[in-house]
């Protein structure tokens, strides 16, 4: 069975190649059939692989498949090779599973688009790249997937390329990601330079002997890799591309910019956890960046009016949670949240897509309202997802978020401040998500007559994936219940072999005392649930019961509101501080340094030589009298020289 690991990414690649070569030559049903089938097959294979892996004893759950030697150069050797272990098994299930549902959804959503074939092409290429990313057994092949998903993201954000804002957003995403890749590359160089290999298992195994724990090199390596993660996973300071990425088709936002690609950074840190546990300073940076991003993005989410933008900032914020988890060395909690988030956030985006579909492409929530009765499937499924992300007990998001909050407090790398930030963010999350629900589905119908007339529930290809995702949004968290519920945390247990090398999760000193831990855990859990409920009721008050209050609050805090609405002006600041100076500096280099100075020097030399020649030319007149005169003058000078000299 394990001989077929390579087929998991390769089947979608075959779909890409087929659809790519046949573009414009085959009918749409065939395109969508190939597109969905390949990802579906990948998913089935992933399921089979998962159960095969499960049947092995935990310490044997490490299967490598080497296809061929990729870049052999001197001492540098890298293979095209895949690694199936508990971590990658979870990832391929999520990627191909959610990916499959989104492919099916796209059949309905993109039905009228002229670029149908191109769309499925890119989507399959994305699935291939993402699966390569998570299955790679070395840094470099991971980087292939890493860049591949970035490319697909670029192509799909700018899918409607005639729109300037779309192609701008695509380009921005690619370039910002490249800045992150700059860090990733340097991190790889540093690791290879020190360890002499980029093979994960080798690096993790030899790192403790090569690096000094807590030393400068390992900290630098981890922070450089993390720079890569901030690009791909949209964290401060490189998060700016993700909100703009909403220019792409909504299923793309769901798949790439919520469920899978943007979580690659979290996956990378979990994959290299053995390095990070050796660099506590780097972990602290990860935790702080994660916590601050979570909070910061949530505040922006409070003021956005575009339904997809709210979800985009929410994604940035939730990714911050995952990094917070990684930063306190609770890697499996981070991956757990990655998984549950994939379910409910994909669902939210697809739900939003269904709303947009119904609303004749309108995305402004101020023009929605009262959609509940028109969208009998979209509404309940989206509500489930909202409850899940808000962290209502029993749903998937509750378990994963609760674990992160608890670990951020209790882990040895944790801190009360980190917990407080996470806690406040949980409240904000519940508030802005229910603001979205109330503005969209409840209250007065604010759309115009024509749009209202068109309102309809989406076709079955779109609603069935919603239902499936809703189911997972509920039950997806049950595999990782906290031990205070009296059951084993299967998820953490499953990932243990991957996290074990570096010591995995370190329980904090507070727990060492024993006894008080359970009490604290329950207390923190209850406090956060209460906060979430309060936030939900606040949202209900402001956006459903008493909309007047929301308006007056907004007017009272108009300065803050403006700041949030304009996203703290970060884009403008980047433009003024980085983009414009680079462009003007380059123009200076071209017009002045290149043309005037360097080329001026070369041409100047030519001119000088020509001028000298012009002067000398005057001597060569061809007139014998002139020559005779010069001759006499010369002789006289010589005589004078020898006589007096």
């Amino acid at each position: 069975m394990f001989d077929y690991i390579f087929l998991v990414p390769l089947i979608p690649l075959a779909g890409f190649i087929f659809n790519g070569l046949m573009i414009g030559r085959v009918p749409r049903p065939l395109i969508s059939f190939i597109g969905c089938l390949t990802v579906g097959l990948s998913f089935l294979l992933s399921v089979l692989l998962f159960f095969n892996l499960k049947n092995l004893p935990p310490e044997a759950r490490f299967i490598e498949q080497v296809l061929f030697s990729w870049i052999p150069a001197g001492s540098f050797q890298v293979d095209i090779a895949f690694l199936l272990d508990p971590l990658s098994a979870v990832m391929i299930l999520v990627v191909s599973g959610v990916g499959f549902l989104i492919h099916v959804y796209s059949v309905g959503y993109m039905h009228h688009d002229p670029g149908y074939g191109r769309y499925f092409c890119f989507l399959n290429l994305f699935t291939f790249s993402m699966l390569t990313l998570v299955l790679a057994n070395n840094f470099l092949l991971m980087f292939v997937g890493w860049e591949g998903v970035g490319l697909c993201s670029y192509l799909l954000i700018g899918f409607w390329f005639e729109k300037k804002s779309a192609s701008d957003a695509g380009k921005k995403a690619f370039i910002v990601n490249r800045i992150g890749d700059f860090g990733f590359l340097l991190g790889m160089f540093l690791i290879f330079w020190q360890v002499g290999s980029l093979h994960f298992a080798t690096v993790m195994k030899t790192a403790p002997t090569v690096f000094v724990a807590g030393g400068g090199l390992i900290t630098a390596a981890c922070i450089l890799l993390f720079v890569g993660a901030t690009g791909k996973s949209a964290q401060i300071p490189l998060y700016v591309w993700l909100p703009d990425a909403m220019e792409g088709p909504t299923p793309v936002s769901a798949l790439i910019h919520a469920a899978t690609m943007v979580t690659a950074g979290v996956y990378m840190i979990a994959r290299t956890n053995a390095l990070y546990v050796m660099a506590p300073d780097a972990l602290l940076v990860v935790a702080i960046v994660g916590a601050v991003t979570a909070f910061f993005a949530a505040t922006i989410g409070l003021a956005q009016n575009d339904i997809k933008r709210v979800l985009a900032y929410s994604t940035v914020s939730q990714l911050g949670y995952m990094f917070l988890a990684c930063g306190v060395a609770a890697f499996s909690a981070g991956i757990f949240h990655l998984m549950t988030h994939a379910f409910f956030k994909a669902l939210l985006f697809l739900g939003a897509g269904s709303v947009i579909h119904a609303m004749s492409a309108e995305q402004d929530m101020r023009k929605m309202g009262g959609l509940k009765k028109y969208l009998p499937i979209t509404y309940p499924t989206m509500l489930i997802a909202t409850l899940a992300i808000a962290g209502i007990p029993g749903l998937s998001g509750f378990f994963s978020k609760d674990e992160i909050l608890w670990k951020s407090f209790s882990s040895m790398n944790g801190h009360l401040v980190l917990w407080v930030i996470g806690f406040v963010t949980a409240g904000l999350t519940a508030f802005y998500m229910f603001r979205l629900i109330y503005l969209t589905f409840h209250g007065k119908e604010r759309m115009d007559e024509k749009t209202r007339h068109h309102l309809h529930e989406s076709p079955r290809t779109m609603t069935v994936p919603l239902i499936f995702l809703a189911i997972f949004s509920v039950i997806g968290g049950w595999v990782g219940m906290p031990h205070i519920f009296g059951v084993a945390n299967y998820f953490e247990h499953w990932l243990e072999p991957v996290m074990a090398h570096g010591g995995g999760e370190v329980e904090g000193p507070m727990l060492a005392a024993g006894g008080g831990d359970t009490g604290t855990e329950v207390l923190l859990m209850v406090v956060s649930v209460v906060l979430v409920l309060v936030a939900i009721f606040a949202a209900r008050y402001y956006y459903l019961k008493n909309t007047q209050a929301a308006t007056s609050l907004r007017e009272k805090l108009s300065g803050v509101h403006k700041l949030l609405l304009n996203k703290y002006y970060v884009d403008e600041i980047y433009g003024a501080v980085i983009v414009r100076p680079v462009v003007y500096g380059s123009i200076f280099l071209w017009k002045v340094v290149d043309v005037v100075i360097i080329d001026g020097f070369a041409n100047g030399m030519a001119t000088i030589i020509r001028d000298i020649s012009e002067l000398l030319k005057n001597i060569q007149t061809g007139q014998v009298r002139r020559y005779a005169t010069l001759f006499v003058v010369g002789v006289l000078i010589l005589i004078a020289y020898f006589t007096f000299g």
Binding site: F76, K171, L186
Partner: protein, 527 residues
């Protein structure tokens, strides 16, 4: 006696020239046909050589050494290693594609044009095969003439200025090279009593440090102008912009490689001590070239000059990797020479295709091409990605190895150079966006025809090579590796001598395995 494949591949294009001399100038189709067939057969010959090349072989292969001018000790000495092999194959492939690409665009003086192309290819292949410095110099100069004509006759509006600039810059360098050559010639005679230009014989001669610095400088200047290394690059944008498409392709694809090839073949093994002495300066210039080329490229208004400046940046990578002087860097550098030929060649071809349709290359004249020319846009995208160095395209393999090699020797330079990777994405994607995306704003772009079968035929092989080298570079790398090892032996010797350790190192003899005693007392097998 072994069949002399190298002479065949070098001079076969001249057979075409000979045939074409007897074809009347008016028979355009016949002329084009003959040149295409000849170039194609030359390509097949080079494939044959590639096939027969012994991957595990050490030293030069297909070697031939005949006396040429006895009285001066000049020999007709040819031979190739993996580096020259790949460059020869690149040259013959690009020549075929160039002839195909000129099919409709060259209408005046057709006979002269195709004769120049074939002549040029003889010169280029000759440089890559020559192992006698005089012979090398002859081929080096031979190339110059047809290229001068290609730019000067079939070029754009400022073709004369560009052609003269090209020749003057190159001549300036090659004259210094000639002086240096003669110095080596006489110095060797004093050393051994024999007059020779033979590369390997001269390689065995120890050269004192001070003259070595000067001689290296003379060669390096000649090569640096060709590369072109910042700040000797200003002839390049002019030459590229004015040259016809095929001229640009050959210029970027092969002629620039002459510079880097010269460094690898002559400077590094002949003057290892001087190489080490100049290393910091050249590396710094290379990094400046990477960043400077990228920044200036970003603000160009003409697509062709954008690509030209991007060449400055890419060739900076080649130089940087070479002067990392380790396996990774040098192998990356060589593979990047090939990559740059493929990617930049493809870019120039693509620019040429759109130029033929619109007779403009200004970025602002385009926009929305994706809708009217989808196939063109797809090819363009792939080539742009390869130029940016996306993994699984050829560019990545080269750049990664170069940066990795550099990182091992100089972290600061590697960090600076890596920023070039970010900048490459900026200038390429920005250009691509303005040309390809958006709405069609210019009515002249409304009815452009997508690629013709001939044009697809030109681009498909390049795209295949892009992915081949990107996904499975092993066949190329394993051919380069022995050659690179040989060069590094010279450098390592110099390093050891510099460290003052007592190490006996035998001179490398082709085909033999020898043991090099490394300073640390380990024994390293060098194949």
């Amino acid at each position: 006696m072994v069949f002399d494949w190298l002479t065949l591949v070098i001079f076969f294009p001249l057979v075409g020239v000979l045939i074409m001399l007897f074809i009347p100038s008016k028979n355009h189709d016949t002329l084009k046909g003959v040149s295409l067939i000849i170039a194609f057969i030359t390509m097949l010959i080079s494939f044959g050589i590639y096939y027969m090349f012994d991957t595990l072989g050490n030293g030069m292969q297909f070697e031939i050494n005949e006396t040429w001018i006895v009285s001066l000790g000049i020999n007709y000495h040819l031979g190739i290693d993996g580096i020259s092999l790949l460059l020869i194959v690149l040259t013959t492939i690009l020549t075929v594609l160039c002839i195909l690409s000129s099919w409709n665009s060259v209408t005046v003086n057709v006979k002269g044009y195709y004769i120049s192309m074939l002549f040029l290819s003889t010169g280029m292949i000759g440089v890559f095969c020559a192992l006698d410095l005089f012979l090398f110099y002859v081929f080096w100069e031979v190339m110059l003439i047809p290229m001068y004509f290609i730019i000067g006759v079939w070029g754009g509006p400022r073709k004369i200025y560009a052609a003269i600039k090209f020749v003057l810059f190159t001549m300036f360098g090659s004259l210094l090279m000639l002086v240096a050559l003669l110095y080596l010639y006489f110095e060797y005679a004093r050393f051994s009593g024999e007059y020779t230009f033979d590369l390997f014989k001269i390689m065995d001669m120890p050269i004192a440090y001070q003259p070595q610095l000067l001689i290296f400088g003379a060669f390096a200047l000649a090569f640096a102008i060709k590369v072109p290394l910042f700040p000797f690059h200003t002839w390049l944008p002019d030459a590229h912009v004015q040259a016809p498409t095929a001229g640009s392709v050959i210029l970027a694809g092969v002629l620039l490689k002459m510079g880097t090839y010269g460094f690898v073949r002559i400077c590094l093994p002949l003057f290892p001590e001087a190489t080490l002495a100049y290393l910091p300066y050249i590396s710094i210039l290379a990094v400046i070239a990477i960043i400077y080329g990228a920044l200036v490229s970003m603000v160009q208004k003409d697509v062709k000059s954008l690509v030209a400046f991007s060449s400055v940046s890419h060739m900076g990578f080649v130089m940087l990797g070479m002067f990392a002087l380790n396996m990774e860097g040098l192998e990356g550098s060589v593979i990047q020479m090939i990559n740059h030929g493929i990617s930049t060649g493809a870019l120039f071809l693509i620019v040429g295709m759109i130029y033929e349709r619109r007779h403009t290359r200004l970025i602002e004249d385009f926009g929305g091409i994706a809708r009217v020319m989808p196939t063109f846009s797809a090819f363009f995208m792939i080539v742009v990605l390869s130029s940016i160095g996306l993994p699984f395209t050829n560019g990545f393999v080269g750049e990664f190895l170069i940066l990795l090699g550099t990182f091992k020797t100089n972290v600061t330079l590697a960090v600076l150079a890596t920023s070039g990777v970010v900048l490459a994405a900026c200038y390429m994607l920005w250009m691509y966006q303005r040309v390809i995306f958006g709405k069609v704003t210019n009515p002249e772009n409304e009815n452009l025809k997508d690629l013709t079968p001939r044009e697809k035929l030109i681009l498909v092989p390049l795209v295949l090579l892009i992915f081949w080298i990107g996904i499975y570079p092993k066949p190329f790398l394993e051919r380069i590796e022995p050659a690179v090892k040989q060069i590094l032996v010279h450098i390592d010797n110099a390093r050891l001598a510099d460290n003052g350790s007592e190490t006996i190192i035998e001179k490398t003899v082709a085909g033999e395995t020898e043991t090099v005693d490394v300073a640390f007392g380990e024994k390293e097998e060098i194949k």
